[in-house]
Amino acid sequence: MQLVIDNICKDFTNRKGQSLPVLENISLTVREQEFIAIVGPSGCGKSTLLNLTAGLLEPSSGKISFTDVRPGYQPHMSIVFQETGLFPWRSVYDNVAFGLEAKNVPADEKKQRVQKYIELVGLKGFESAYPHQLSGGMRQRAGIARAMSIEPDLLLMDEPFSALDAQTRTIMQEELVTLWEKTRLTTLYVTHNIQEAVMLADRIVLLSRRPGRISQIITVDVPRAERSLPQHTEAIAGFTRTIWEHISKDARAALMEVENNE
């Protein structure tokens, strides 16, 4: 099973009724067990692309589909949101259980899976805590556990660590690498952090500024688990430099633009 994004365009209409192109001619195939990062300057439509893929927005034209699906099987997707999107009135346990509730998983299996993923993300002992009692990093762990517990065919992550401080962020990145090696979920990961993309992804898709188009796709050929080792420092820095050279002009232009993300 693979995800095919086929020639997607998305326009938004602003309050004056003008049509604003946000994404143009995006075509991309995400293979099974592949980790793809989408990188681009702010306002390039990378979150929009993720929302379209998740089926939370309607594309203006084009088609997003899973191909080679077993007959009668409905693929599942889950999302890790930047602001976590945890329900404040549910404990960590009940938050993680939500996806399984929606999927009508039987009670025993649900309990077992919630436990498993809470342990996997390192939240054991915090099951009964409410989100506001946790630190930012812990909250996002709960968000990741919730998304992973339904064992989705595609995991979508929308800048999951960008609200965290730099140190927590580095730790969470490392943990995500280990976690991913254990689960090997097909992942589409949106970020504006180049270093993060280089540490995590098999392939990195670079989007240009508005309207977002795919300007380049870079394959990171260093094994994921070895990327923080000293012998690969040079190669990793090389990737980071290439990508930054590619998008820095767009990023500077984006900085000068008045924020109007409506």
Partner: protein
């Protein structure tokens, strides 16, 4: 092998309908009402038809009856509202910013707040006479409490960070009040004003029904006693219009006064 196309799962929540739907629905309801009356299902004594009410409204406007009543009511409600709102605003600002005033006055305000203000009318008539003053006072009292309480809440929910900014620049208490606390409270103040608008209309009609020769409330009571229901309903429609216009004016003021919110 099959293909599974990703469709928009937010469709239901993202759906919108054009404005003319509301107009059509109101029109439909009026037609239904008219039809029920025309068919003679309900006696026109109990429920006059919309056209009947409209023609009553026209004759009453033409004879000047509406203008006289409306003028009397408007003077009462305008004076009562402005006085009550100004006092409420002052009380809210003072109790919200001074810890001492809060300790001393808030219990008193909280104790008086739940009293149905109309219960005080006999007392006000005793103190101030049966004339305009007692009616204006009862309206002002009804307006005072929601405005004071909302202003207080708006003052209290100021972001401590913004207060720290002001303190770091050695801003005087007066400047802090004017430049930070008041703007921060404005949206809440307007919520209070709109709540108070409803209360003031209620008290106006109640006071006019208890002790007045002129005014919309007196007019409604008069035609109720005479069982002339179409004229009674015409008065009710004037009240409804008054409420709608009142709310509209406050919304417009809010938009002008709070430009940083949308």
């Amino acid at each position: 092998m099959n293909e599974f196309i990703v469709t928009n799962r937010m469709k239901y929540w993202q759906k919108t309908y054009p404005h003319w739907y509301s107009l059509c629905f109101v029109f439909l309801l009026l037609c239904l009402w008219e039809a029920i009356c025309r068919a003679g299902i309900v006696s026109s004594l109990f429920l006059p038809a919309p056209t009947q009410i409209l023609s009553a409204l026209f004759t009453m406007t033409a004879s000047g009856e509406i203008a006289v009543s409306l003028a009397a009511s408007l003077v009462r409600i305008a004076l009562g509202f402005v006085i009550g709102a100004l006092l409420g605003l002052a009380a809210g600002l003072i109790t919200g910013t001074s810890a001492l005033a809060d300790r001393l006055c808030s219990p008193v305000v909280n104790a008086l707040y739940p009293i149905p203000k109309i219960a005080l009318l006999p007392l006000f008539i005793l103190w101030l006479g049966i004339g305009e003053l007692s009616k204006i006072t009862i309206i002002a009292t009804g307006v005072f409490f929601p405005v004071a309480m909302n202003t207080f809440a708006g003052v209290r929910n100021v972001d401590p960070l913004l207060l720290k900014v002001a303190a770091s620049f050695n801003a005087s208490r007066w400047l802090t009040m004017k430049a930070i606390i008041l703007p921060n409270a404005l949206p809440m103040i307007f919520t209070g004003l709109r709540l108070a608008a409803g209360t003031s209309l209620l008290l106006l009609v109640a006071a006019e029904m208890i002790a007045a020769q002129t005014g919309i409330g007196a007019l409604i009571l008069h035609y109720g006693d005479l069982m002339i229901t179409d004229r009674l309903m015409a008065g009710v429609i004037i009240l409804s219009l008054l409420g709608v216009i009142f709310n509209f004016i406050l919304l417009w003021c809010e938009k002008k006064a709070v430009p940083w919110k949308n």
